[in-house]
Point group: C2
């Protein structure tokens, strides 16, 4: 027990404490009463509260949150630049809404307890709720973004930025449009975001579900095994071909010959010249689906050249994406400077049949989208900032109102009120008589650019001292001109 306590005390993420108070009510009598009752049964273990966040989740402290808000703000800016509207859906959905959408990953869905009423589950992504929203509101075309948390009972890995609660930033285009125009823009959006975050080199891997299915068809995979073989292919980013082949033959019942045929294709990658090569491939082009997929890829490459982003796009035949609902192009953004530890930071594709699954008349609403997984990006950006020893300001305070002597709290409050009412970010000490040195240290530590210093002499003269915290120079300013003078200085500094 003691050893356990020692171990857990050293780690702020997991502290076990005695719960001595049952109520938070400030009644000395009641508390004393409860405590004396506890003392009556000294052999019984006291109840404990484990002081931690749930497995796979974390708190974001002020500096982390400041960095994250900056990242989310940049992403939002890009989404808005492309004219996306913003929507919001509840954090949980009726369980049925999520059922049958995620294939093997469905076991990772968090369910809510049965407390009477509806069966609910926490959302697993933002795509299925979006499809439900479209069908429910009979929306036939929309370009929307949504930035919100999703939940997966996955094995967490903090080092890789993989959590059970994490943000997704989704941009989707729904509507009956012409081939590859929305697709190309989604990839452009992803590229813009990665550039704006300055998270290092990246590439966008692209493939097409029809090409994959066509490949399986031409290689002789039975139709009912398309999705499960697709899952095996998806593992090629982490496993070698031999292992994947073994899974295909030993676990999933393909013949070695069929698997080998698949193998020669899914290890290919390149750019549009690979599309040209594959058009000449006799086996592959026996499948109509494969040809359709290739035609789509050809057009896609033409469009991204116009957008000037062809240098960051790679046609990767091994890209398969885990989820069931994709029907066309699929893509994934990977960071290149980070080794294998980070993996993909964005992904998406076309999913034309998902809305129809919800729609009263099974109406098809074609959709394509991109989802940015920011947690991994935070990990990379935080590591970069730590390396550069850059301090992140967690507040934006412009002016600190300080007192040089005792008994000036009322004067500080009135100055603060005037600054706040003028829209200036200001604060003062919540102690009646704080020491001047402590107040000025607070300014320096928190990089507050200006301090207003009030002393008895200043009060009697109707002035204040305006101090530049960095240079420590002070100027006398008339009390009634203070707001104006601060505005002038803030313009100069910013």
């Amino acid at each position: 027990m003691l050893r356990n306590l020692t171990r857990t005390f050293s780690c702020p993420q997991s502290i076990i404490v005695k719960s001595c108070f049952v109520h938070s009510v400030p009644l000395p009598y009641a508390a004393a009463d409860i405590m004396s009752k506890e003392q009556e049964k000294p052999q019984e273990k006291p109840s404990k509260i484990q002081l931690k966040t749930p497995k796979g989740t974390r708190d974001y402290g002020p500096e982390h949150t400041a960095i994250r808000n900056d990242v989310l703000g940049r992403i939002t800016e890009v989404f808005k630049r492309h004219g996306a509207v913003n929507i919001d859906t509840p954090i949980f959905e009726l369980k049925d809404v999520l059922t049958g959408k995620y294939g093997e990953d469905s076991k990772l869905i968090y369910d809510l307890a049965d407390q009477g009423g509806e069966s609910l589950s926490l959302r697993y992504d933002l795509t299925v709720p979006f499809a439900r929203y479209l069908a429910m509101n009979k929306i036939t075309n929309i370009k929307r973004y949504q930035i919100a948390k999703v939940y997966r009972r996955d094995n967490p890995s903090v080092a890789r930025g993989r959590y059970r609660e994490f943000y997704q930033c989704d941009f989707d285009i729904a509507g009956q449009y012409d081939d590859m125009l929305p697709e190309a823009e989604c990839v452009f959006v992803a590229a813009e975001i990665l550039r704006s975050l300055d998270a290092g080199k990246f590439k966008v891997k692209v493939n097409h579900r029809m090409l994959l299915d066509g490949l399986f068809e031409s290689c002789g995979v039975p139709i009912d095994k398309f999705r499960t073989i697709c899952s095996s292919v998806d593992k090629l980013d982490k496993s070698k071909w031999d292992e994947v082949k073994k899974e295909m033959t030993d676990e999933k019942g393909l013949t070695g010959e069929v698997a080998d045929k698949i193998g020669t294709y899914v290890q290919l990658h390149g750019t549009d010249e690979l599309v040209t090569t594959l058009f000449k491939d006799e086996l592959l082009t026996t499948s109509k689906m494969a040809v359709q997929g290739l035609e789509a890829m050809k057009l896609f490459f033409e469009y991204i050249k116009l957008f000037g982003i062809d240098d960051i796009v790679s046609f990767d035949m091994s890209l398969a994406r885990g989820l069931d609902y994709y029907t066309g192009i699929i893509y994934e953004v990977v960071l290149l400077d980070q080794g294998e530890s980070v993996g993909s930071v964005a992904g998406g594709g076309r999913y034309d049949n998902l809305v129809g699954m919800f729609h009263p008349k099974n109406k098809t609403i074609p959709c394509v989208g991109i989802s940015i997984g920011v947690e991994r990006l935070f990990t990379v950006i935080e590591a970069k900032l730590a390396k550069q020893k850059q301090k992140t300001r967690a507040t934006e305070i412009q002016v600190f109102v300080a007192a040089a002597q005792k008994n000036l709290v009322e004067h500080r409050m009135i100055v603060c009120k005037d600054l706040w009412n003028a829209g200036i970010k200001a604060e003062h000490s919540y102690k009646k008589n704080p020491k001047l040195l402590a107040q000025l240290q607070h300014c320096e530590e928190n990089e507050i650019p200006w301090a207003v210093v009030i002393g008895e002499e200043e009060v009697s003269k109707g002035v204040v001292k305006l101090r530049d915290v960095v240079t420590r120079k002070e100027e006398e300013v008339k009390r009634e001109e203070l707001v104006e003078e601060i505005f002038k200085r803030l313009q100069i500094k910013s």
Copy 2:
């Protein structure tokens, strides 16, 4: 069944549909296969997906979200103006963290299903997670804000803006500070927010838990009934004194005499002059706690006068607040123009013992805070906008890139790319050959200020037409000067 369908179809919030597809995979064979199997058992009811959001929750469409983002942005601005840092905690906590914090309301907590692992509950407010965060990270002083959703299995009432999932915007000051300085600022923050949202007249009701407890003490209420009698008093905003008295005597066992004594006090309200009157009250001042409460109120009124907000503050002896954890001043903001339908839109108070309940050494971290319940404010603001027939723009698009003839999609894409790369908010049609009229109508409907119109003639001359969507005036602009010209015009318009 048919009747049911008819009824539900008429309401977009609840549509029951047949779920014909089990998989979203675009395999005509597989889908046909599944459907034919369904047809084999024609007597069996098809599985249904209820097309609705969970009870007590709602989607926010583009216009609602735009309004909400504006409201949350204004609130954030006020929090930042007072130097609060931002933190974020997970949406769920270990169940034990929430246990014993909410009194009678604990039954409203959402639990997660037992899927192996920890017992988890959705957070009920942001205050208890904040206290857990402080204790876990051994933080002794912080001024923080958090804007996030909380969950309560309450009886929803859409008309009153009461949902089971709703945003809270919390501002809290933790630390050992001097009396009433943080309290006065919290109320100032609430007032600033209400003013900035322009939601009509409001007042801040204020009371003090020590004064209430002192009142109970001096009236002869047994200590173990303080909290439950406090809950009865809390009902005075919705019920008449007679009903509340009946609850106190019939259900909670007070004598009529004791209840009547309480009644003479809890129906009092006023401003600082009421504090002065109560200081002279012989019965009340027999309680040391009551006197301490009155002294605190006196100081509080002095401070809010300095802040210039005494005109919106009312000392209301009936204010009790439901939650157990308050220990000092308590307050609630109510809108005055809305009748009783909206109720309180913000509330908070001092809770000095909550962090200690989590802290390994029961260390006391005094806290005071204010929580803005924005859902009710949205309801009011949306109603106001609807009354004024104000349309809310859901996007910020500045330029639409249109084609005057067919086969110009590549030119549109290149113009878009240039605009995006320059940071201009731009979009174009995802159809290869959209009609010019449709494109220009889109601009007018969506209040996009500028359109770039490309025609074959313009392409050959190396120019584009820049169209002012409101005046419909067009000017020819050199292709290479387009970005610059747009920047000029955006500065003029904004």
